[in-house]
């Protein structure tokens, strides 16, 4: 049984969807998830012995996204062989696209927490695991991120008042 193949078949699209909120761009989300699978192929033993292989991939993907984001922030004029690809997005309505755009304006830590908790519907402890942060910190980032999104999007309301456990 090839665990990696099985996880790829069942989880790839779901992981891309989850990372889309974090990255704010579909092509970027595809790249980081693909890279996470490459690392899983490189570190077979660590991947195959993980309690939750999908969570393992998600944590690796979030770290890759952060590293790539940091590179862009501090060295975004670095010479590249190919010009960066234009943004790609799924076919979303205006409201949903506005939310994605607003999410991109948040600080990275808040964006990660909001995207993984609300877009990916992960409970707090899984968001904490994926981001390597304490649950209390995740809660604070979600609260701040919600306020910041509400400022940017009039009429925005979250279905629940408090982050779900």
């Amino acid at each position: 049984m090839d665990v990696l193949r099985d996880v790829f078949d069942t989880s790839y699209r779901r992981l891309v969807g989850q990372l889309y909120g974090v990255c704010g761009d579909l092509a970027e989300a595809e790249d980081v998830v693909a890279e996470a699978f490459v690392r899983a192929a490189d570190k077979r033993h660590a991947f195959e012995t993980a309690d939750n292989p999908e969570a393992w991939l998600r944590t690796v993907a979030v770290n890759i996204a952060r590293t790539r984001f940091r590179r862009r922030m501090v060295g975004e004029r670095l010479l590249r062989l190919h010009p960066p690809a234009g943004d790609r997005h799924p076919d979303l309505g205006e409201d949903r696209m506005a939310l994605v755009v607003a999410l991109r304006e948040l600080p990275v830590a808040q964006r990660e927490a909001i995207a993984l908790h609300y877009f990916a519907d992960l409970p707090l402890h899984e968001v904490a695991a994926a981001t390597g942060s304490p649950i209390g910190t995740v809660k604070a980032r979600i609260s701040r991120g919600r306020r910041a999104l509400a400022d940017r999007l009039s009429g925005l309301e979250f279905v629940e008042e408090e982050p779900h456990a």
């Binding site: 891309v16 989850q18 693909a34 984001f69 979303l92 877009f119 604070a140």
Partner: protein
């Protein structure tokens, strides 16, 4: 609100599936490369040892660590055998970029950073650097050995100009050792380090690159634009996006002539600096916005100052700014919004029905926000003080609650709380700390009055991540002269009880209660707060910084 989980599902459905076998092949290739390099290294060492034994009849001594003067740079070897070398580099002590989203996002760490270039630089290339190394100074001071792949915040990064390959010691395919032999921060940061190993490519389809060699990098000796006994630091302002970009204002009094104010600016933490050719009769107000500064004198609209020391006079525009920046009052009393990139200032229109705007401030509701997209708060005095909020630089206004007639300043926050104003009377030279006003979500203000016996007169204030309010108290109302009454200095509230103020017990050079902390600048970066203070009179340094709420301080360059 659009269902966020449906957004994720839509993205998943639209995702393009990569070739699974190709992903596996890339992973397998990395694994092979890592094992091959380790094997070659080991085999090479064994072979070398064997040859030496044959020649000398005994085992050789281990190769000594090269002395700093023997280190001649870093050599990078591609998988085709071609090489490129490190070129000109510089060193500085800064906060890491982890707060921008690196694996350890909060709080950012003080690191010693080597930055520079590798390879030939094409004429059309405006890239500032393509070689960078950072290690936490706390770990590196006494020497440090890291095995690759490194973990944040330590890393070595290089960009290969030939093919755009990006290589990092943190990439999964990396191996080998990074050694810091010596490192120090202070007025002249310095580091000596060696690297020997393999840097993994950030791109899965480009090759890893070997690296060997070492560097000793020392910052140039700072020179002062006002290195006279009468020179005093009047202001020190850092860019909120890059603390290495800063401007300092110096008061220089020469002999019996009138004092003048000079401005110096830097983009590398004062390793180098440019002095502005113009002198000022009174201290100019300096505000940072990204990598540039707004200098404002007593009249006119001021100038835009670039880090090469050039000044560009600000022009008056009409309408709304394209890129809104800092808000300021022009010499004629009009409130303006500055578009730094266009060097143009735009008058802020008063709300419809309001008399005129008596004060305009830009709020900071997003902790660590690094741009000027925060809303404007406008205050109009007519039958009380009505506050208004504008998110489009005064194009439209939304009325808020009422406020007492006073002057207001913005208190920056690192705790994620709502917009906070400090309310004070119209003090001629000192700002009385009368109350705090917190803007609630419903647009009303929640007022926290301060005690008046004695009353504090404050300078910069900030709320730390744990909710403690730090205030630079320049004077107390019970002071009748030098050394009497409550001493000035840095005061902290008792947690989030902002009505209490206790003097912060600071270490050197402010450990003497008669030497107050003269707070010049506050940098807020997420939950991290850096205080910048002028050095006490007679101190060799110009300025000091603190990252622990004013308890300990270290010298920082300011000239």
């Amino acid at each position: 609100m659009p269902e966020p989980d449906e957004i994720a599902r839509a993205a998943g459905r639209a995702a393009r599936l990569p070739d699974f076998d190709a992903l596996v092949a890339r992973g397998a290739r990395r694994r092979r490369l890592r094992r091959t390099v380790a094997g070659v290294g080991l085999a090479g060492a064994v072979a070398g040892t064997t040859l030496t034994v044959l020649a000398l009849g005994r085992a050789p001594e281990p190769a000594p660590t090269p002395a700093p003067h023997e280190l001649s740079g870093l050599v990078f070897t591609r998988d085709d055998g071609t090489t490129f070398r490190s070129g000109r580099v510089s060193v500085a002590c800064v906060r890491s970029d982890a707060s921008n989203g690196g694996p350890e996002a909060e709080p950012s760490t003080e690191v010693i950073r080597v930055s520079g270039r590798v390879g030939e630089r094409p004429a059309s290339d405006d890239v500032a650097w393509n070689l960078r190394m950072e290690v936490p100074i706390a770990d590196a001071r006494d020497g440090l050995t890291l095995s690759l792949p490194t973990t944040e915040p330590a890393y070595l990064f290089v960009g290969d100009v030939r093919d755009g390959n990006e290589l990092s010691s943190a990439a999964e395919g990396s191996s080998g050792t990074l050694k810091v032999l010596a490192a120090s921060c202070g007025p002249r940061p310095s580091i000596t380090f060696t690297v020997d190993g393999l840097l993994g490519s950030e791109f899965g389809d480009l090759a890893d690159v070997a690296v060997a060699g070492g560097l000793t990098v020392t910052a140039d000796a700072p020179t002062s634009p006002a290195a006279t006994a009468d020179a005093r630091l009047s202001a020190l302002v850092h860019s909120q996006t890059d603390p290495a970009i800063a401007a300092s204002v110096w008061r220089r009094c020469e002999g019996g002539s009138a004092c003048r104010f000079r401005v110096a600016v830097t983009d590398d933490g004062f390793r180098t600096r440019h002095e502005v050719s113009r002198a000022f009769a009174s201290a100019p107000v300096v505000v940072a916005d990204g990598g540039r500064f707004h200098l404002q004198g007593t009249a006119g609209l001021g100038w835009i100052l670039d880090t090469d020391g050039t000044l560009q006079e600000v022009q008056r525009g009409s309408g709304l700014p394209e890129s809104p920046g800092p808000v300021f009052m022009a010499g004629d009393g009009a409130w303006m919004v500055l578009d730094m990139s266009a060097a143009t200032a735009y008058p802020v229109r008063a709300p419809e029905g309001a008399d005129r705007l008596s004060q305009v401030v830009r709020l900071d509701p997003t902790p660590g926000s690094r741009d000027y997209n925060q809303p404007l708060l406008g205050l109009s005095y007519a039958d009380g003080v009505t506050a208004y909020l504008s998110s489009d630089s005064g194009g439209t206004w939304q009325p808020l609650g009422e406020l007492p007639e006073a002057l207001y300043g913005v208190v920056r926050r690192a705790d994620g709380g709502p917009a906070l104003l400090v309310e004070g009377g119209d003090g001629a030279t000192l700002f009385p700390f009368d109350a705090l006003q917190e803007l609630a979500e419903d647009g009303t203000f929640h007022r926290t009055p301060m005690g008046s016996d004695p009353r504090a007169y404050v300078g910069p204030q900030v709320v730390l991540a744990d909710g403690t309010l730090l205030s630079s108290v320049e004077a107390w109302s019970d002071s009748n002269g030098a050394g009497t009454g409550t001493p000035p200095g840095l005061y902290a509230s008792d947690g989030d009880d902002w009505t209490t103020l206790r003097r912060v017990r600071s270490g050197a050079p402010y450990d003497d209660p008669r030497t107050p902390v003269d707070l010049l600048d506050v940098l807020v970066d997420g939950e991290s707060v850096t205080l910048v203070a002028g050095a006490p009179a007679g101190d060799d340094q110009a300025a000091y910084s603190s990252t622990d709420g004013g308890r300990t301080w270290r010298a920082m360059p300011a000239r």
